[in-house]
């Protein structure tokens, strides 16, 4: 069974999604909850095992259909993939717990869609094949479209219209890009692409560049790269709470794809195709960060704040990609884990605030108090500390890593100010948000809504990762760095150049 371990993160949610549509699970909320809980736990276990495997071995491949790469589709487990899988497992586990407090019953098919969403995300993390990446993108997208509208409501529908239509256009560009890629590389396996990049015909170079840059558009759209990021805040802010929290990892899929394709395939070893995206990423990532900061300061609700923070973190992450060194990638990886989990926690907290504050929801205005000020305020305070980047929580390590990754040359002159200012902006808006939401209350609460133990557990679970990331910061930064080196130096297991092709048999 263990030789199939790499496939588990995709297979488990797929099977779960299927069985949730069939008797005896279909139609029974409690059974569905328990089933998904168990699957999530299994996903956690497999992710841990995969991480262990990636630490002990060279990157492992799982060849679908037993066809050798580059002909068959390869799933690849290296350190980077394993870390991302663990991240998605932790996030999925916590978010699902939260959803089980009642959000899951606000519309049909929440649980299977949740599983399919995880399947898509995990598949995107695992696949070593660029077209298969497209397929998993589509899986995670269609699942996200469906989850986005969970619970219904005007604003949600409006957000969905924007999100869906824009992403559909994005998918079209993905396919244009893939067309060019196949037309020039003649292969779909990413390692094979990396191998062939340096040996491309000179007449194909410009074409391959166009293809690679079209993929930059697609990944940039997912990763919230300016000017493609505008869809994000309203989409995240308007969807249901657990879905928004789960979406915290969606931009990271874009970042991850940029690593896989633009750092590895079109990376240093790419000959004339080396680093094609870097020149574009530099100014745009900076601009993303700046635009994110501005939007952050303009936030009027807690969910919007959380969503704008996602943009800010996207800007920072994109900068690490633009820096294009293993150190920067390692910094990005650490920061990615931190920002994903903490943003998710913040979304969940915002959900509770929204519910308890009645009409004012999560707007930054004076209103009736929340029913559990100490509890929610405390959780908020922790999340805020982490996201602002203040000690003792993980944000500060991420911030230091980012600053250090910029080196001390001219790069730093560009990167430091926005990174530091983003911290200040976050501090300003968080202190405004926190003092308003939890302290600036008048009257008495008009509802009896209190947080469900599962919701609190989920949030605490997410928040606990932050101190853990600091306490075991040494091990984690080491891991990030070796994952980054693996990505930069030996992109993926190298494939035999061209296997012997058997004679054609009619």
């Amino acid at each position: 069974m263990l030789q199939h371990l790499i496939f588990f993160p995709v297979l488990l949610p797929l099977l779960a999604g299927i069985f949730l549509l069939l008797p005896p699970l279909q139609g029974y909320a409690r059974r569905q909850r328990v089933a998904v809980f168990l699957v999530n736990a299994l996903l956690l276990v497999s992710a841990v095992l995969l991480l262990q495997q990636s630490l002990q071995h060279e990157p492992q491949m799982y060849m679908m259909g037993d066809w050798q790469a580059p002909f068959g589709i390869a799933l690849v487990n290296d350190k980077l993939a394993a870390i991302m899988l663990l991240l998605s497992a932790v996030l999925g586990f916590a978010v699902h717990l939260y959803a089980c407090a009642g959000d899951d019953q606000r519309g049909p098919f929440f649980h299977p869609l949740f599983m399919f969403q995880l399947m898509g995300i995990n598949g995107a993390f695992l696949t070593g094949d660029i077209f298969n990446l497209f397929v998993f993108f589509e899986i995670l997208l269609i699942a996200s479209y469906s989850l986005l509208i969970h619970g219904g409501g005007k604003q949600r529908t409006q957000a969905a219209v924007h999100y869906v239509l824009l992403n559909l256009v994005g998918s079209a560009f993905f396919l244009f890009g893939l067309g060019v890629i196949y037309a020039t590389f003649g292969t779909l396996n990413m390692a094979d692409m990396a191998y062939k990049a340096a040996q491309l015909n000179s007449e194909d170079i410009a074409l391959a560049k166009a293809g690679g840059l079209l993929l930059l558009v697609v990944f940039g759209l997912k990763a919230a790269l300016l000017p493609l990021h505008f869809w994000l805040p309203r989409t995240y802010a308007n969807t249901s709470t657990p879905v928004a929290a789960l979406f915290a990892i969606m931009t990271k899929v874009g970042i991850y794809s940029l690593w896989r394709v633009h750092t590895a395939v079109f990376g240093e070893h790419g000959g004339e195709l080396a680093n094609i995206a870097v020149g574009w990423l530099w100014p745009l990532a900076l601009a993303t960060l700046v635009a994110g900061i501005i939007a952050l300061l303009a936030s009027q609700t807690l969910k919007m704040l959380a969503a704008n923070l996602v943009v800010v973190s996207a800007g920072s992450l994109l900068l690490t990609i633009a820096l294009n060194t293993p150190q920067a990638t390692a910094a990005g990886l650490y920061y990615l884990i931190h920002s994903t989990l903490m943003s998710a926690a913040l979304f969940l907290i915002a959900g509770l605030v929204q519910e308890q504050r009645g009409q004012a929801q999560d707007r930054f205005v004076r209103s009736r108090p929340v029913n559990q000020p100490a509890l929610l305020g405390g959780l908020f305070f922790i999340a805020a500390l982490a996201l602002v980047g203040m000690p003792p929580l993980s944000g500060f390590v991420g911030k230091i890593l980012l600053l250090q990754a910029a080196g001390d040359g001219s790069d730093a002159a560009w990167i430091w100010p926005p990174i530091l200012i983003s911290g200040l902006a976050a501090l300003i808006i968080f202190s405004r948000a926190g003092t308003t939401l939890f302290w600036r209350a008048q009257g008495v609460s008009q509802n009896q809504v209190v947080a469900h133990p599962l919701q609190i557990t989920a949030i605490i679970l997410l928040l606990l990762t932050s101190p853990a990331m600091v306490i075991w910061g040494g091990a984690l930064t080491d891991l990030s760095l070796s994952a980054a080196y693996e990505l930069h130096q030996q992109p993926l297991p190298v494939i035999p150049a061209n296997m012997a092709v058997p004679e054609v048999l009619p």
Binding site: G152, V169, A172
Partner: protein, 107 residues
Amino acid sequence: METIYAICVGIMTAGGVFLVLRGYTFAVVLGLTLLSYAVNLFLFASGRLVVNGAAILGESEVYADPLPQALVLTAIVIGFAMTAFALILALRARADLGNDQVDGDND
């Protein structure tokens, strides 16, 4: 022939993009459909054009590249699913927002 093919793809893309930039969901979905035709032809073209060479073993002498065909097939199916979703979403928006403009009430 390649020239004509490319011109067709270009025009379909242009038409699709133009429609996608409209302000009404129906036009946008129509544009997406047009765009996906263009995309499929484009992706198909990555295997180059071959006449009378279907990749059915024994049926032809020269085989067209079968891989892009398989990819296009996948893309067609996914495109269908996506178009369907987008269309129904347009309906939902019409039901919830009272009109069929992509940005709701504000123009």
